[in-house]
């Protein structure tokens, strides 16, 4: 049976969704803060599903606590469960912080979690809680699954951590020359390591948030670590108010830590798309140079040159090829820009998010194409497949859920983004910076070449 059904326009239902739910995004951010444990306020299934999903991509332990609602909790409210959960997590993990996220369940029954947490903190201060003497910081992100996608949860959790931890006096900008905030968006662990290297080449004073490069892609351990090492240090988050500027990759659909830092603490905000492709990378390195007051180190010039060289070497393979891209809005916008600059037409650019600005955003980054491009927000995979039928795409770029698109259309899928659960090393894919772009460029070229080679019989081994 083929999934290519007769098109029924404007579907109400979502068929093979192209988005995940909000608490998942929040949990990833929380796992990227040192010593922080996520706690989902809702049914234990949420925690189990989200752990299961994250684990299938990262192949690492992902501990996420839950307040374990049962039917009576759903009826009578979850405060006691939440308090018990906070106690147990505090005692057993001795965490530096607990990030609480809501669910559709707790939001539907109207739980006032901020109020609960204030009360918990008061009780705790009074010594009324059985918390083993542990007093982790507690952030709260409101992340009902029925509002937005995992990216809403992601940005919301960033905001929760920043707005909770940043303190201190407002400072004058000149004092802070050199300190850089980077809000990294939803990227791979390898991307985070590359960002560390890039940032480190400009300054040692930076806050990269979140940073799950070690906590979700760590080494094997000789002895088990209950809370994996790594993550943005809470004390570095605290310092974000003092920075010379915040580079913020992507757009926060709800609360925006970048804007908040600018408005509340006067930290200038430099928002840009994820640095994939020359057009998105050049401004990034330039901003870092500006904020740090340091010239762009030679290594990035060399990488940039090698990338251009590859663009030129490979342009004959990619030029005029047609791609389908999908995924998070921020990711798709960056991919679209990258593909456009190497001469590929993203004939479909789709996101599962319900986003009014998406179409204009994508159109804005397509500087070169002369062809029509289908841009769809609130899209699901069945819709994408239906759209793709007459567009003769050459390949697909996105996460593992595109496999069935790839099979139905008979074209290769270049796996990137999240989730990647049918290959190993998804967390180690480098997408960002000149080097990451080169990696994606090689993957795209080689997927196209392989498809071409596979169509030929003998006599076709140089391409």
């Amino acid at each position: 049976m083929s999934l290519q059904t007769t098109a029924v326009p404007n579907f109400t239902s979502t068929r093979n969704a192209c988005k995940l739910c909000s608490p998942l995004g929040a949990c990833l951010v929380l796992r990227g803060i040192e010593g922080c444990i996520p706690l989902i306020h809702g049914s234990q299934g949420c925690s189990t599903y989200i752990r299961r999903y994250g684990i299938s991509h990262f192949r690492e332990p992902i501990d996420i606590a839950s307040s374990n609602f049962v039917e009576s909790t759903a009826i009578f409210g979850g405060k006691d469960n939440l308090f018990t959960a906070l106690d147990n997590v505090s005692r057993s993990y001795k965490p530096a912080a607990i990030g609480v996220t809501s669910t559709c369940l707790s939001e539907t029954i109207g739980e006032d979690v901020p109020m609960y947490l204030r009360q918990y903190e008061i009780d705790r201060a009074k010594g009324l809680r059985n918390n083993g003497g542990q007093n982790p910081a507690i952030f709260y992100a409101s992340t009902p699954s029925y509002r937005g996608t995992h990216m809403d949860g992601f940005h919301e959790a960033v905001f929760a951590a920043v707005s909770k931890l940043v303190d201190g006096e407002k400072i004058t900008r000149t004092e802070s020359k050199g300190r850089i905030n980077l809000v990294s968006g939803f990227i791979s662990a390898e991307d985070l390591r590359e960002l560390q290297t890039i940032l480190g080449s400009f300054t040692t004073d930076y806050t990269l948030l979140p940073d799950y490069s070690e906590s979700l892609d760590g080494p094997s351990w000789e002895t088990y670590q209950k809370l994996p090492q790594g993550g943005t240090k809470p004390e570095d988050i605290k310092k974000m108010g003092e920075a010379a500027g915040t580079v913020y990759f992507g757009i926060a659909p709800g609360h925006d830590a970048g804007k908040w830092l600018e408005e509340t603490w006067g930290v200038p905000l430099f928002r840009q798309d994820l640095p994939i492709g020359i057009e998105n990378c050049d401004p990034f390195y330039k901003t870092l140079s500006k904020l740090s007051g340091k010239e762009i180190p030679e290594i990035w010039n060399r990488q940039r040159g090698r990338l251009i060289d590859a663009y030129i070497d490979g342009h004959k393979y990619v030029n005029s090829k047609r791609a389908i891209i999908y995924g998070e809005e921020d990711f798709v916008a960056s991919l679209a820009s990258f593909l456009d600059e190497i001469g590929i037409v993203p004939v479909i650019a789709a996101t599962g998010a319900d986003s009014q600005g998406f179409k204009k955003r994508i159109q804005g980054v397509l500087r070169n194409t002369r062809q029509e491009v289908q841009i769809a927000d609130d899209a699901d995979f069945v819709t994408i497949l239906e759209m793709a039928k007459d567009l003769r795409p050459d390949f697909i770029m996105g996460h593992s859920k595109g496999l069935f698109l790839s099979r139905e259309l008979g074209i290769p899928l270049v796996r990137c983004g999240f989730p990647i659960h049918d290959r190993i090393g998804g967390q180690r894919i480098l997408h960002l910076g000149y080097k990451g772009t080169l990696n994606l460029f090689d993957l795209v070229c080689n997927a196209i070449m392989e498809a071409k080679q596979d169509q030929h019989d003998k006599g076709y081994t140089y391409i």
Partner: protein, 545 residues
Amino acid sequence: MAEVYELPDTAEFKAEILERYPPKLAKKRAKQIIINKIENDDDVPEILANTRTIPGIITMRGCAYAGCKGVVLGPTRDILQITHGPIGCGFYSWLTRRNQTKPTTESDVNYMTYAMSTDLQEEEIIFGGEKKLRAAIDEAVALFHPRAIGIFATCPVGLIGDDVHAVARAMEEKYPDINIFGFSCEGYKGVSQSAGHHVANNKVFTDVVGLNDTFSKPGKFKFNILGEYNIGGDAFEIERIVADCGLSLHSTFSGNSTYDEFSSAHTVDLNVVMCHRSINYLAEMMEKKYGIPWFKVNFVGAEATSKSLRKIAQFYEDADLLKKTEEVIERELVEVEKVRLDVKSRCEGKTAVLYVGGSRAHHYQELLREIGITILSAGYEFAHRDDYEGRKVMPSIIVDADSRNIEELKVEADAVRYKPRLSEEKKASMEADGFAFSDYNGLMTEMPESSLVIDDCNHYELEELLDRYHPDLVCAGIKEKYVVQKRGIPMKQLHSYDYMGPFAGYKGAINFYKEIDRLLNCSAFKFTKAPWDESPELSATYAFN
């Protein structure tokens, strides 16, 4: 069975575990962590099971929705399934289990790769989502016109006043040739996915089984397998073997299953049960309503498979069938024994722990024992007392509030279709000859003396156990996988089989032996320590107090 392996210091271990819990929690967990002891052949200590998980303690359990949609209905290819709720649950349950299915013709439908959701938005949470659900059903009908549609409720559905059953009835009126039914499997129902199994099987029983008296398959000895979910193609291997014996497998609940098979499942002579936990009530209800006897089988493990085949053959009391069954067993065991002995030579004396589901933690002990591996500890994620202690304790199980939320169906003999397959006398005489019906002796009677039985084992307990007893192998689920492997211990997923398999039947046994051999003899673990590293960091340890 029940070899004696003196797991040292279990009492001390248990005490230490409990010591670090707050008193109330310690008291509860004390009843769920049991040092096994078998007296009078099948008397075992009482265990507390099917009870709530403590908030903030990281459990291995899932929710009712996962049990209903993911586990039970998931493997059915031609019932179109719609998740009613926000997008998360529908996405996470989209092909996450490695259920396989084999449409018999090119035109057979297969909705397993199709994940349909009403994707509820804030507006519907406020104003209600039934309209959207009806629209989704309209769309499903326009697209596929399926034989049957199942609607699965997620957490907020009941709370916002949506009635999936009312919608199902209304839409059935609109589409009289489509069987439409809803499942009240909100995630917070019950204490684990077990609740979801129950919701699922109840609905399949009331709304599907018994509708079709005509669908049939060729063959003389017709039976159903209940509680076999075709992970890794297990059902295919079982189908292969029973067919070779001359049996006619009518319907598998629910691995590689179809709507026709379900709806005509009441026409067979016999039900055999694989996973006691998830489905024993369905067997009971079918016996009551249709007169079909049942007994427990196990196709995991070569010996268990042979035993199960022989029992089925005995049930039919057919000489040919008995002969063919013996031939199949003899034929299959040649290769099984060859591989088993080779693998055993390398695995003998190794130790394992299993924390899985509601029957696999039991079944897989067979396979492990066959290659000489000793079980140090085992436990279920979502089982009830009878799964540990055997069905004889069922009358004494206290039904608590969480269980009461799951409907207990009142079943009576069907006026038309009730037909006892065995007369009372015949059944009694067979039982007198030692042929057990409606049987299950539970996990503990087959566990080694003094081994640890832990219900709803959590991360803390698992980690302590690993640190104390250093098993050579852990069998559990993906959430535990990397916790275990990070400490250098090989780990086998027994929910998804690590997307390998089949592990059931004879070929499955061979696959499993080889897989365990590979795991236990994998050299990757030996590199954990760098040759220049002499002072490893000390690990943090849990402390609840």
